[in-house]
Symmetry: C2
Subunit: 99 residues, 2 copies
Amino acid sequence: MDEEERPESSMPENVVLIGKKPPMNYVLAVVTQFNNGARSVKIRARGNAISRAVDVAEISRNRFITDIKVGNIAINSEELANEDGTKSKVSSIEITLAK
Amino acid sequence: MDEEERPESSMPENVVLIGKKPPMNYVLAVVTQFNNGARSVKIRARGNAISRAVDVAEISRNRFITDIKVGNIAINSEELANEDGTKSKVSSIEITLAK
């Protein structure tokens, strides 16, 4: 998974990074990627957005693209630099949806 | 997984249900179960507590019991009855930690 190391700006097409917008915004991104021919889409989130990532995966597969399955789900810890120079650990999740 | 159907009151010992308390409360519950001889512990959460469940799993394995591994992670949707009689769907997660 070499895309793990890439910065967000060059993130490959089949990754949806979950932020603070309403879940349906990200569901639309997931659905669009499958409709554009993607065979799998990875949903990534950190911290409080993790719950939203699970919502996005569930809404996508239950309401919109019912032939996708939940593939691998990985959890991890990432170290983030705070503004004051200290570091915080934050949990992350990556949910793979696949046809 | 027949314990899926059981109500919380008879939940088996090796399940930790994540609520709104600070993560360390649940980490302590996980660590205690492993120290009491459990070979695996399931961490369950719904809705906004899902992010905390991932934190609890990560803190438990990174800081306290370093010989446990993240096993299966399952996500699902559950229907909850609201107070006004309507129903809402809420996402859920179950993270299995195992020695």
